[in-house]
Each structure stands twice: as C-alpha cells, then as structure tokens.
C-alpha cells in the first residue's frame, strides 16, 4: 500500500480536478465577447401608456484587420434587468459587463427617478465602480452612436471630458459610480451630476443636474453650476472674471477652499460658508499697475470678493426658493454636529435656514509681469 501511495494520491487528484471542472460554462475568447464600454439608459412610453426601459450598450468589436468597430445593441423591456434578455436575443456575442467607462442617463429617466437602475448597478459585484455617470439631453442612444474621429467609441471621449473637467469651472472629481453610491443614500447628502448635450460640433458639458433624493430637481446652466460647485465642494478650481465696459475685464484663476460653520438656535439652523480663493491673475486690462501697487491689488481683491459674494447669495436665494433642494450638502454638516437619524427632511430645513457667505480673495501671483 505504501508503495503506491503517490500513485493513489495522483489518481485522487485527477478525479478531484475533473470533478471541479464539471458543469462549467465554456469561457469565451475575447473576440467573441461583447465588451461594454458605455451604457445608456432611456425610457420609452408606449401607445397604451406603459413605460419601457431602453438600455443601449456600446461595445467595441475587435476585428482581425485591426479596425475596431463601435456597435450599439439595445435592449427593451419592462424592467432594467430584463433588458439584458432582450438584448441577448438580438446579439451574436456573449454580453460581458465589468469594463464600462461611462453611464449616460437620459433626462427623462432622471425625472422618473434613478433608484431602480441604480439599485441594479449596485447589486452587481463585477461592475466597474470607476465608471463616470452623466445626465444627457435627448436620446442616450444618439450619444453612443455619435462618431468622433480618432476614438473607438464616443464613450471614451466623454469619459475623458468628465475626468478633466475638474481643472476649470470648479467641477469636482466625484462623478464616478462609487461616489454616487455614497451621495444618493446618505443623510444630508445630495446628488449633482454633469449635464451634457450633443451639439452640432460635438459633446459639451452645459451644466449640472441636481437631484432631490433620486429624482431630478433642476438642471443648472453653466454659470449657476459654477457657483454651485464653488459652494458645494471643499476644494475646487476655476476661473472668475470681472467685466467692466467693453474692453475692460480681468480674469482670475483660483483655487477655492470651503469651510462651513453650523449653529443652531431653537429650531433654526444657521450656516456660515467661508470661501477662500487663492490664485493668479491670468489677464488684466482693467486694473492698472496691479502688480506694482498694493492699493490696486487690495482693491481688486475687495471687488472680486464682493462680486463672488453677490453671485453666491443670488444662487442661495434661488436654491432656497426655487429648487427647494439642499444641493450644497449643508445637511450633512448639520447632521454631523447635531445628530443623525432625527427624521428631519434636510431639503426643507436648509430651505428655511439662514445661510451666509464670506469670501476672501487673495492674489498669489500675477504671472511674468504686466504688459
């Protein structure tokens, strides 16, 4: 018996290995997979009034001659997950999730509520949580179909666009799926996503879509979006300008830091938002001798602070009265100080609370000099 120990062991191992292999699906070659790059999502109303979920998926088809083709396959069904079945019926390849870069959601979906598709994405353990999420105007399928030279798919292009948006316009970096998980469900937080449009010349970020819980509250234009981003994010960067007469203007590129103080008097909350701008003057026609005279510099700083303050107050008024939505995530700060799970609706509380903005502007440098 001892003599054959190794052989017996080997035989057992082979049988065991063979057993493990049984009942497995065959793993396909990469050329035979539908590798999803961008996922769109629309709603379609049928004649009888029922709503259909339409999920177009853009995937790259790898060809032998090296030319990769962007193929769109659309699934249509009564629920989001069922659209997978519908799509597979029309497709020649096995559908493969896990490498998506972009989720394009239509405005109508956002109005309807993003909870259902969102839950479906959250459940899936193989999904790529690093993908960006944007809201679009019009049909999401058109966005995925659009042809851009030099790019395999438009999803690649839009991904790059969102990723690099944070260098200007005070955009944030957290528009990835994993950040959105945190924003939608937490107390006192609210969702704000980039809003893109397909114009004649291509894609463009034209503002921000702000949400009340999981439903679209409003779409802000780019100027309002800028103000909201300044007030919303702890750290951001972008360009600000003062325009005087025709040819009089000054552009100021700055980093902004936000600090919020929250106090409570009775039932009323009071917020003081401190904004600190620190940056450089990019071009200047308005203030003569800005780089040499201290008084001019101080005057500019004061003017700029006043301008930003006015803009912010205007936006906060709009937010409190028109949108009635806590898109600055102030509820989060209040909850962290005065306790969670008290059952308050932060959107309502913030709309009725006192919000003050203090702005400090500092000119750090003026470039090489003044021409």
């Amino acid at each position: 018996m001892k003599k054959y120990k190794n052989i017996i062991f080997l035989i057992i191992l082979i049988i065991f290995g063979g057993y493990l292999r049984t009942g497995q699906e065959k793993i396909e070659n990469i050329e035979e997979l539908d590798i999803a790059v961008g996922i769109g999502y629309s709603l379609k109303q049928d004649v009888d009034g029922s709503v259909k979920h339409v999920v177009p998926i853009s995937s790259i088809v790898y060809k032998e001659d090296g030319v990769n083709v962007n193929s769109i396959k659309t699934g249509e069904a009564n629920t989001v997950a069922l659209s997978r079945e519908d799509r597979q019926r029309k497709s020649d390849r096995k559908f493969f999730l896990g490498t998506e870069k972009l989720y394009i959601f239509e405005e109508s979906v956002a109005m309807f509520g993003i909870y259902v598709p969102f839950e479906t994405l959250f459940k899936n353990p193989v999904l790529n949580d690093d993908g960006f999420w944007v809201i679009c105007k019009g049909k999401s399928e058109d966005y995925l179909k659009y042809k851009i030279q030099g790019y395999d798919t438009p999803a690649d292009y839009v991904t790059g666009m969102i990723r690099n948006a944070s260098s200007y316009n005070f955009f944030q970096k957290n528009y990835r799926l994993k950040d959105i998980y945190l924003m939608v469900g937490s107390e006192g937080r609210s969702l704000a996503l980039p809003y893109i449009e397909l114009k004649e010349k291509g894609f463009e970020i034209t503002g921000m879509a702000i949400f009340n819980k999981d439903k679209l509250a409003a779409v802000l234009d780019i100027e309002d979006s800028k103000t909201m981003n300044i007030l919303r994010s702890d750290k951001s960067r972008g360009m600000l300008t003062i325009e005087g007469n025709e040819n009089d203007f000054i552009n100021y590129n700055a980093k902004c830091k936000r600090k919020v103080k929250c106090t409570k008097e009775g039932d009323k909350y009071k917020f003081i938002i401190d904004l600190k701008f620190n940056g450089e003057v990019v071009n200047n026609v308005m203030y003569k001798k800005l780089s040499s005279k201290v008084e001019v510099k101080e005057k500019f700083e004061k003017d700029m602070a006043k301008k930003i303050e006015g803009r912010c107050t205007e936006f906060i008024d709009k937010m409190k009265n028109q949108y009635k939505d806590d898109c600055l995530e102030l509820g989060r700060i209040a909850a962290a100080k005065y306790g969670r799970d008290t059952g308050v609706d932060w959107n309502e509380v913030i709309s009725n609370s006192d919000i003050k903005v203090n702005v400090k502007v500092k000119v750090e440098k003026v470039g090489r000099g003044e021409f």
Binding site: T99, N128, G339
Partner: protein, 364 residues
Amino acid sequence: MSDKKGLITANELTCLLIGIIIDINITSTPNSVAAIAKQDGWISTALGMVYPLYVALIAIYVSRKFPKDNILALSKKYFGNIIGNGLNFLFFISIFTYFPASLFNAMIVLRTYIIPFLNPFKVYLVLTLIGAYTAYKGLKVLARIGVISFFLVVTIMLLSIPILLYGSILNIMPIYGVGAKNIIKGSTYTIYDYALFEWIFMLYPLVNEKNKIKNSAFKAVAFCCFMYTWVVFITTYYMGTDIIKKNIWGFLSATESIRVDVITSFRYIFVFIWILIALKSICYIYYICIDILKNINKKANSLFAYAIIGGMAIFLTKIYYTNRLVKNEIVNYTTKASAIYNLFFITVIAVIIFVKRDGKGEKI
C-alpha cells in the same frame, strides 16, 4: 509534550492567536456593528475586546498555576474522567460550531466576487481538503501560516490607509452621538468576531518561553482590537452609516475606493488576500477540533477522524447554511451559546484552582 520539536515560540503564539480571531468575517463586521451603534460602531468594536481580554487574563492565571496542563487535562483532573470528558466534548462542540460558519463566510465571498461559476459544494470541498491537509501537518506549520497571515493582515491594513483621502470626518461625527446604551448593545455584535480566543488554553503548555505567555496574549488582544476598530472606523469614515447598511461586505466595498492607475480593479488583490486569511481560519478550527478529540480519545488522530470532522462540517454547511440570512440566524444562536459555555467553562476551572489553592504558584 516533552519533545522540543512540538514547541512554539512566544511570537508564534501571538500570531496563532491573532490568526484565530481575524477571519474573512471582519469584512462584514462594520455592518453588524453599525446597525445599532451607527457612527460610533468603532467605539463598540473597541469595547468588544473585553471578551478576549477576559479570556486572556484567565488563561494567564491558569497557565501560571499549571504551566504544563491544558484546560482539557485540568477539567479531567477536577471533574474526573467521565464528567471531565463530557465537558471537554461540549467544549469541542462549542468550537466546532464556528466551522460551518467560517466555511460559509469564505464560500459566499468567493462566489460573489470571483468564482460565481463554481457551485458551493465544490468550494467547500476545496477549502476543507486544504484545511485538513494543513491541520494534519501539525502546530508548527500552523504557526508559520500564522506568521504569514499576520503579515497579510498588516498588508491589508496598510493598503487601506489611502481610504483616508477619499472619505470624510463628517461621517463619524457626532462622536458618542448614539448614547452609551447603544454602544454597549452594538459591542455584543462583535462576539462572533472576537470568539475562539479560548484556543490559548490549549496552546500555553506548548510555548517554550513560559514567562512570555502574558506578553504575547496581551499583544494578540491589542492587535486584534486595533485591527477590528480600524476596519470599522475606516469603513464608517469612507461610507457613512447609511451606506454601510446597504453593503454586505462593507470593508471590501470601502477598499474599492482606492484607485491605482495601472490596476483596473483593486478588488481582486484584496479578495485574493482574504481567501488566504479565510483558509487559515479553516485550518485552525480544523486543528482545534482534532486536537480536542485527540485529548478525549487517543485514536482520534487517524485519517478517519479528519474525514468525519470535515465531512460533518461540509454536510452541516450544505444542509443548514443555505443562504446568508439563515446562516446569520443560526450563527446568532450558536455564537451566544458557545461564548457563554466557553466563558463558563474557563471561569469554573479558574475558580476551582483559586478555591483549592492548587498549582505551582502556591509552592513558590
């Protein structure tokens, strides 16, 4: 026991004790704690260390009095062969209850994240076979695995430090906001995680430096407490209490926040490390079960006993632990029962030693 070969060093003792406590279940600890203690879950977790600390204190006391007898021998000594063996067998059962649970925990993580195509039975089979083989190799091998898995745990801790960049301190505020009652209530949910420190009662006779037992027991408790508290803290820090509830393995989700440009998904690296840690726990529990049985009956060291234990574990897991909810319900009962029994068992032994004024300490 007399041969030098089987002895372990004090450092290995620390690693073994850390190894038995830290399991793949640590990834869902934030969830169970945050259900009650909310943002103060990490305080609850830190408080949970009372359980292993108590066990360690008793073990140190007993090991001073009887440095050469483990708890099974002591129970036979004080209660006679029959009752003593009966109590020992109950001790075996209380430890065995953790076996199916840890098999299931490892399986469900594996099947959710990386191998959805294997059926549960196959996963159990592989895990148990590896566990049996390692347990058969003896304590010295387990100790080495313990050292390796200690470094793996440290690696995971270091890798999770960058999460600090992505979260917010607002998520764990207000500190102490849920009140003392809820914090203490939350700490009872960590019993499963801190369990099985009782293994120290089987290990102390095998340590070659008897004077360092106290030191290494405290080190192990401190490290485990730190690790658990860190995991709960960092998960809460990243997600906030509302999102933790929505995840099943909170810590695994939190580690996904880390972005490294070269690696598409950090998840697989983490899950890979967790598999090794889960495997180690299974090996350890396997070894303890066999070790106790061996003490009750010398014949239990045969291959037959290994097959019975492994087969039983797979059978129970397959039949009763059909999904996570059922498992949670069963584990809730078994954990409480076995923790109460274990505490009772060691306390009774310690009290008898104290009352009888037995042992080595008296003579000196």
